[in-house]
């Protein structure tokens, strides 16, 4: 029921408004002070002069140069009119300008009238008095109508004439000598050509554009991949059986080790085939043939009745896929190295050296050589990752019948074992990371809290099974989440204490690296072992109480993880990232490319995933109803829908990257920014003007292009 406000309420409200306004005013005036706003400063004459000069030079960019020569026109003059003849007036060739003096003799201190016609219009000139001994001194002009440009520099009139009075220098003892007045006229020869500044700016601008291009193109595939994980509508429905999830975590490390050990050989082998180092076609062809055969054999249908044979085929497919992927990557790397050598060879045989073709061959060879080198260097790691991703699936395939049917005590026992192992591995992994820096020490605390939450939730759900969703009351949900939160806090705090994270945070002492041994098998830092024990206990409790039958929202987890990382990355400006990359790879465009790439990945990942979230859900539902799996649904129902917005956003990002790459040089990231920064520091504003002009030009052209392309796709 609405009641009209009483008078006292009205008064109170007014008072509150007045207080709010006064407080707002105070805050605002504080802001005025700390940002140093001072309107007197821009009006100080010296500052105005400075800014005028800077702007003037910026707006007179040093774009073109032209070679010049100085034409000298001379006329002789006798000091003292009474002795001897007047100097002979040089007879000029027809049509040539001639300097005349009137009179042709005089005393020091006299003013003599000079005139000349037919000079190049508007050219710069200077006057010199040359004594008999050949000593020259610049002369000023009196009563001239010509513009003066600086001291003793004159601009010829627009009719090509120049006249005025010069004073005969007062030099003692020159009487009777013949002196000369010389007019030097600077005339351009040849045509104007781009100034060295302009060439340098163009070179750096190309570098800049390529920085943006590299950063954008490298980030596209990565952010496309990430965007699927950051799209809520795709990830939310993905669930996994709890047991499978735990098994997955428990097997990943073994997968990595096994892969690094087994697949490395496969990759090395194919690498050598590719790079022709140990080229022996027969075994290579046979083994590849076998792989293709195995894949073909498993191809027929994807879904089969749940028989032992079908399961074996599934496992064989996965094994084959694993080996094929490793082999293909190895082969690509090998061909990369071979291609690099081959193209380098070819380039070196081209005559003359350093022409366009050999240049192209060299750059292409260099690029694929680097790619091949990455494969060669990272072989064990790539192999490990491939296996770490695929082995758990394989083990899951084997364990599925058990995980699906176990009940009662066995269920909980398996849950405890798997939960313990995966908890230990999870904690071990983050603890290993945590040994790197003080702040990272919070990671095990976070994971410990999550595991503790899972454990407490498991216990609560075991003794008080949750009702169906639609029967959940508000209070019930509150109580459950409060209890879970308490579990998280307690276990987080316990982890904090046990691992002495406080000490690490306060005085920055990293955990000691003294080693202990795990069951006498591997030696690990005690810090990691302690963390693993915590994980073992918490994970064991969680898994033991919840069992393996439940469902685990793996999609939610991946979504949250991806989103948070993207958001964190996006909040760091590329300029700051560039600072770190400059420390890592040195000043230059590579650092800029890395910084822009990282930022683009975060930004595009977010933009892309938002596009996925707005797509039409109908086709997804339709494909699901045909029996397509998640992957197929994404490929056929999601991908076609997101191509146009992805192109639009990529253009948008490329646009931003060009802008960013023009300034990333200010922190050492290469490109035009680096050059502009140098010019500004050297107060060479004429040159800086060229760079600014180039930036404005390129940015607006790209702005227009990207808008035009975006238009077509949205």
């Amino acid at each position: 029921m609405l009641t009209p406000p009483t008078d006292s309420r009205k008064a109170l409200r007014r008072l509150l408004i007045i207080i709010a306004i006064s407080v707002g005013f105070l805050i605002y005036s504080y802001g005025w002070t700390i940002t140093d706003i001072d309107l007197a400063k821009p009006q100080e004459p010296s500052r105005q002069e400075g800014v005028t000069r800077a702007l003037q030079e910026l707006l007179s960019p040093n774009l073109f140069d032209q070679d010049t020569e100085t034409d000298i026109f001379g006329a002789e003059f006798r000091i003292g009119c009474e002795t001897g003849d007047l100097p002979a007036v040089a007879s000029a060739e027809a049509g040539q300008p001639m300097l005349t003096l009137e009179p042709a003799c005089g005393e020091p201190g006299d003013r003599v009238f000079f005139s000349i016609n037919g000079l190049p219009v508007n050219s710069r000139s200077g006057l010199r008095w040359v004594t008999a001994s050949g000593e020259g001194r610049p002369r000023d002009v009196f009563e001239t109508r010509e513009a003066s440009r600086g001291r003793n520099q004159f601009v010829i009139r627009s009719d090509g004439s120049f006249s005025g009075y010069v004073e005969i220098p007062r030099i003692v003892g020159t009487s009777g000598e013949v002196h000369r007045l010389e007019l030097g006229v600077v005339v351009p020869i040849g045509s104007p050509y781009p100034s060295p500044t302009l060439s340098e700016v163009i070179r750096r601008m190309i570098e800049t554009i390529f920085m943006a291009l590299m950063a954008t193109t490298i980030s596209i595939p990565i952010s496309v991949g990430i965007s699927f994980f950051a799209a809520y509508n795709l990830m939310r429905p993905i669930k996994m059986q709890l047991g499978s999830a735990m098994l997955w975590l428990a097997v990943v490390p073994f997968g990595y080790l096994l892969g690094a050990w087994l697949l490395t050989e496969v990759m090395r082998f194919t690498f050598n085939i590719g790079s022709f180092h140990a080229f022996n076609a027969t075994p290579a062809v046979i083994s590849l043939g076998v792989l293709v055969g195995v894949t073909a054999a498993t191809r027929a249908t994807s879904l089969q009745p749940d028989t032992g044979l079908a399961r074996l085929r599934q496992i064989a497919t996965r094994l084959a896929a694993m080996v094929v992927v490793a082999a293909v990557i190895g082969l690509v790397g090998g061909f990369g190295i071979a291609g690099h050598d081959g193209l380098g060879d070819l380039a070196s045989r081209i005559e003359p050296q350093g022409n366009l073709l050999s240049g192209i061959l060299n750059s292409v060879g260099r690029m694929i050589g680097i790619l091949g080198g990455i494969v060669e260097l990272a072989t064990p790691m790539i192999a490990g990752v491939i296996a770490a991703l695929m082995l758990p699936g394989l083990v899951n395939e084997l364990a599925k019948p058990i995980l699906r049917t176990v009940t009662g005590a066995v269920d909980h026992a398996i849950g405890a074992v798997l939960g313990g192992i995966s908890g230990a591995f999870a904690m071990g992994a983050v603890a290993a990371v945590a040994m790197g820096a003080a702040l990272l020490g919070l990671l095990p605390v976070l994971v410990g809290a999550l595991l503790g939450r899972a454990a407490v939730t498991g216990i609560v759900n075991h003794f008080f099974p949750p009702p169906p969703v639609f029967l959940v009351t508000h209070t019930g949900r509150m109580v459950r989440s409060l209890v879970s939160l308490a579990g998280a806090l307690i276990s987080g705090y316990a982890t904090f204490r046990i691992l002495s994270v406080g000490r690490t945070l306060i005085d920055g002492t990293l955990p000691p690296v003294e080693n202990g041994s795990l069951l006498g098998l591997v030696t690990l830092p005690t810090y990691v072992l302690t963390a693993m024990t915590i994980g073992l206990v918490l994970g064991g409790v969680a898994g033991g109480f919840s069992g393996v039958r439940g469902s685990f929202a793996i999609g939610d987890l991946l979504y949250g993880f991806t989103r948070n990382i993207l958001n964190a990355l996006r909040s760091i400006e590329p300029l700051i990232m560039a600072l770190i990359f400059v420390v890592w790879v040195g000043i230059g465009p590579f650092a800029g490319v890395l910084a822009l790439t990282l930022h683009s990945i975060a930004s595009l990942g977010k933009l892309y995933s938002e596009q996925i979230e707005t797509i039409d859900n109908g086709p997804i539902e339709a494909l699901q109803s045909t029996g397509a799996n998640h992957l197929q649904t994404v490929i056929y129902a999601v991908v076609p829908q997101i191509v146009p917005p992805y192109i639009a956003f990529t253009m948008y990002r490329w646009d931003i990257n060009v802008r960013m790459s023009t300034i990333i040089g200010f922190v050492g990231g290469g490109g035009i920014g680096l050059l502009l920064n140098q010019y500004i520091n050297l107060l060479r504003y004429n040159d800086a003007g060229v760079a600014v002009l180039a930036i404005a030009l390129v940015v607006s052209v790209l702005d227009y292009l990207s808008a035009a392309i975006r238009e077509r796709y949205t």
């Binding site: 969703v469 539902e621 799996n629 197929q632 490929i635």
Partner: protein, 252 residues
């Protein structure tokens, strides 16, 4: 034979969309499901292919318990159940033939889907199915370039690629004009009579149900109100299903 026992669906917000439905549908029947908007028709159809998980009850189809199946079994079951939708749910930017081929995805190795590869036999079958619904010449156009009726026929061809034994149609003609509606319904009728596919089709209008179905099921507020032959629905029944103020209209 499709047997639905005590089927109840309560949505997460507590709304009871289906209330203890019991049905037995023999193979080869053409069944219409009628009822007002919000009466639970879509929910019922979606429970059958497990796009929605029922809260209670069982659905047994050819001796398989759909409600108890795990993820992979569900996919195997769905392969045999075609579905067409009111909004057609085609991938608009893809070609017609691609849309049709997608009906075979359940039978295709997911690795081949990366390469957009379908066996030759599937391609031939897709063209044959398009020919069956009379739009073979549109095969390489974009789906968005087709009219509504043609798009729904693409939807039928896509479902046919599954070689279904059961066809679910969720208001397949609600977005179409009367003439087109009849042509689409005729195709469903042909599938039912020639291929012996069981059809479960939800419809807004009783007149369409009367024309095409062997049996009519009526839902109201999630409850089964009527189950019988189309001619058994007299005026009193009609008002029971659609409310006192409703008047039956003819679609022709």
């Amino acid at each position: 034979m499709l047997i639905i026992e005590n089927l109840t669906k309560i949505y997460d917000n507590g709304f009871k969309a289906l209330d203890n439905i019991n049905l037995e549908i023999p193979d080869g029947q053409f069944v219409s499901i009628i009822g007002l908007s919000g009466s639970g028709k879509s929910t019922l159809l979606r429970c059958i292919n497990r796009l929605i998980r029922p809260t209670h009850g069982r659905i047994i189809w050819n001796d398989t318990d759909i409600t108890a199946a795990n993820e992979e079994d569900v996919r195997a079951i769905r392969r045999r159940i075609g579905m067409i939708f009111q909004q057609f749910n085609l991938v608009k930017r893809s070609s017609v033939i691609t849309n049709v081929l997608q009906g075979r995805l359940g039978y295709t190795n997911p690795l081949f889907s990366f390469l957009n590869y379908f066996p030759r036999s599937d391609r031939d079958e897709a063209l044959a199915n398009l020919e069956r619904v009379g739009i073979k010449e549109q095969a390489y156009k974009r789906a968005s370039a087709l009219s509504g009726g043609q798009q729904q026929r693409v939807g039928i061809a896509r479902a046919l690629m599954q070689r279904p034994e059961l066809m679910l149609a969720d208001e397949p003609v609600a977005s179409l004009d009367p003439a087109t509606s009849h042509s689409v319904m005729k195709y469903l009728e042909i599938l039912n009579s020639e291929d012996g596919i069981t059809v479960l089709c939800s419809l807004h209008f009783l007149s369409l149900a009367r024309t095409y179905s062997d049996r009519v099921i009526a839902l109201k507020d999630g409850k089964l109100m009527f189950d019988g032959g189309p001619q058994e629905i007299d005026n009193a029944r009609f008002k029971q299903i659609y409310g006192e103020d409703a008047v039956e209209v003819q679609i022709n």
